[in-house]
Amino acid sequence: MSVVLQAKNLNKYFYEPEKFHVLRNVSFEINKGQFVSIVGKSGCGKSTLLYLLSTMDTNYEGEIEINQTLLTGKSQNELAKFRNQHIGFVFQFHFLLPEFTALKNVMIPAEKTGLYSKSECEDRAYEKLKWLDMDKFATKLSSKLSGGQQQRVAIARALVNDPTIIMGDEPTGNLDSANTQIVFDILNDLSHNKGQTIIAVTHDPEFAANTDRIIEMKDGEIVNNTIKHEVAS
């Protein structure tokens, strides 16, 4: 069982409007292929934790390692490159670039890596869209798609570089129950059949209950860390 993410003694403070200890000595490990949900009440620090793990927020104490790479202390440019290749994001809102087609939205992170030719990028993007059953909308402008479709394109975008971890900030928070089910099934399928590691912050107890592992937080500390399903292999 290989560890893909390791957080050691994470401490984080907010200074505005007054000093506030958001995360208190948070430590945990996540294994490859786990589908983890982070739950807790508003303000418990779960989103803050996710953004620390995402490497976008670098103002913290403690250490974060992803894929045996120590990320704490790296420069912004190094982190940007790392995010590009190792982390995929799915947010509550799709955050697709409205001027671009669905296909182009998925292609952009692949092109950014500089590893593939343009046609390779297009093939990869198209393959991911097809897997999510979105290939028929590939040439549509992303702003012309429905909410559920947009979220699926966003997932395809998160997947395009075959990231080590997919991070979700309430990935179903803005969807109706039918679309929530679709998105959950996609993520679940990714995790169980493709060995994709997923960390998702969620408010939805049903969503959380169906994941492999729940990290429950309260007042900046982990109060419950249950692993329900051990991932085989």
Partner: protein
């Protein structure tokens, strides 16, 4: 590869809002267009004026500068100033003749100088032109007309008659076109000239000339040198001024200083003679640059505004691009590319607009007036103006785009994505 993505995103942004892009571009277009128009027209006018002035003033003129010097009195010679004060009330200057002594030697000397192309001795005086009841004062120049023609191109400025008539007809006079009109005389008519000394002579008009400058055409006449000497009752060596045309007129300033020293007379180059005109040329140049600069700065603010707004509207896009691994430099590059593209396109269309407007002005008839005789507005088309306009347009938009782009690069994705 990665750079290509940035350019592609910039291109998509520009094309997604064509109207906004066009408006930002038009700001630069008008700025550069107006700059080209103004500089072409102003420069054209300056060059026209310089040409006209150059042809009507000699490169160097040597003359006797009469100073009324009251600091020194003849009384000081006889009464010792170390013991007493000499106070003279209402002093009068001593009577001096304003001519150049030993003029023939100076002229011969100048003619042997390799740098000199033509030398024209002159005797000028104030006169009254009288035709019946009409009396107009003006200046009379006694010249060797063939030499003078070499200096001023007088033969090309003739409106009626020929300069050679002056040599063949006794008591002939070449008259400024404006003056002839005021006196209501034309070729063949007789006009009476009265000198300040009280003498008068009758001349027959044998030609009229037009330099295109009212201040010359309305007061000036040419006659043979000997006739003015006769009118003033002077000998045939009496000249007040020697005009010189040089082979290279840029050397006039040093040459003037040298001649002044050599002959101990005042010598002015054409720049000094036309000092007021040179100042007005300078002022026009400064004005042109100030106005053009203002136009471009305004266009720059337009771009700054639009880029700031665009970035404000695209905060989410910037955040997600950063989350996906675009660095601050990438974001800066995207938005800087957009503003520089607007700048380059705007500047290029501005050059075209400027060229079209300048051509239109060039073809406009110039309103007729007494002071300047040209048929069309003077406009020049210099490549350097266009290159400068292009460079200035691009630099302005680069600077205008730089500040919002740097700001875009600094966007904190966490703050935006958390909502």
């Amino acid at each position: 590869m990665a750079g290509n993505v940035n350019f592609e995103i910039a291109k998509t942004h520009l094309l997604a809002k064509p109207r906004q892009t066009l408006i930002a571009m038009l700001g630069v277009t008008f700025g550069i267009g107006m700059y080209i128009l103004m500089i072409s027209f102003m420069q054209g006018f300056n060059e026209f004026l310089e040409d006209t002035l150059l042809s009507s003033t000699p490169d160097v003129r040597i003359y006797n500068d009469i100073k009324t010097d009251f600091s020194h009195s003849i009384l000081d010679e006889v009464s010792d100033t170390s013991k007493t004060w000499n106070i003279v009330h209402h002093p009068k200057p001593k009577d001096i003749t304003p001519n150049i002594k030993n003029s023939s030697r100076i002229i011969t000397d100048l003619k042997n100088d390799a740098r000199v192309q033509a030398v024209s001795p002159q005797l000028s005086t104030q006169v009254f032109y009288v035709n019946g009841p009409v009396q107009i004062n003006g200046s009379l120049n006694g010249v060797d007309v063939l030499q003078e023609a070499q200096l001023t191109g007088l033969n090309e400025k003739m409106k009626t008659g020929r300069i050679e008539n002056l040599l063949t007809i006794d008591n002939g006079i070449l008259m400024g076109h404006g003056l002839a009109q005021k006196l209501n005389v034309s070729v063949g008519d007789i006009v009476t000239l009265a000198s300040p000394k009280g003498t008068s002579m009758r001349f027959r008009v044998v030609g009229t000339f037009q330099f295109g400058i009212g201040s010359l055409d309305n007061i000036k006449c040419y006659v043979n040198l000997a006739k003015v000497q006769q009118l003033l009752g002077k000998d045939n060596q009496y000249v007040t001024e020697i005009s010189i045309k040089l082979k290279n007129y840029d050397a006039a300033t040093e040459m003037a200083a040298e001649l002044a020293k050599r002959y101990d007379y005042k010598a002015d180059d054409w720049k000094t003679t036309n000092a007021s005109a040179m100042v007005s040329i300078l002022i026009r140049n400064v004005m042109t640059f100030v106005v053009s600069f203002t136009l471009l700065v305004v266009a720059g603010f337009g771009i700054y505004n639009i880029m700031s707004m665009t970035i404000q509207n695209k905060l989410k896009d910037i955040a997600i691009l950063k989350a996906q691994g675009f660095s601050s430099q990438d974001i800066r590059q995207i938005f800087l590319t957009e503003s520089v593209t607007i700048g380059v396109l705007g500047a290029l269309t501005g050059l075209v607009l400027g060229f079209i407007l300048s051509s239109m002005v060039y073809n406009l008839p110039f309103p007729k007036n007494d002071f300047i005789s040209i048929t069309h507005f003077p406009v020049v088309f210099h490549t350097k103006h266009y290159l400068f306009g292009l460079a200035f347009g691009i630099i302005t938009t680069f600077i205008a785009g730089l500040m919002p782009s740097v700001k875009a690069g600094k966007v904190d994705p966490v703050a935006i994505l958390r909502g």
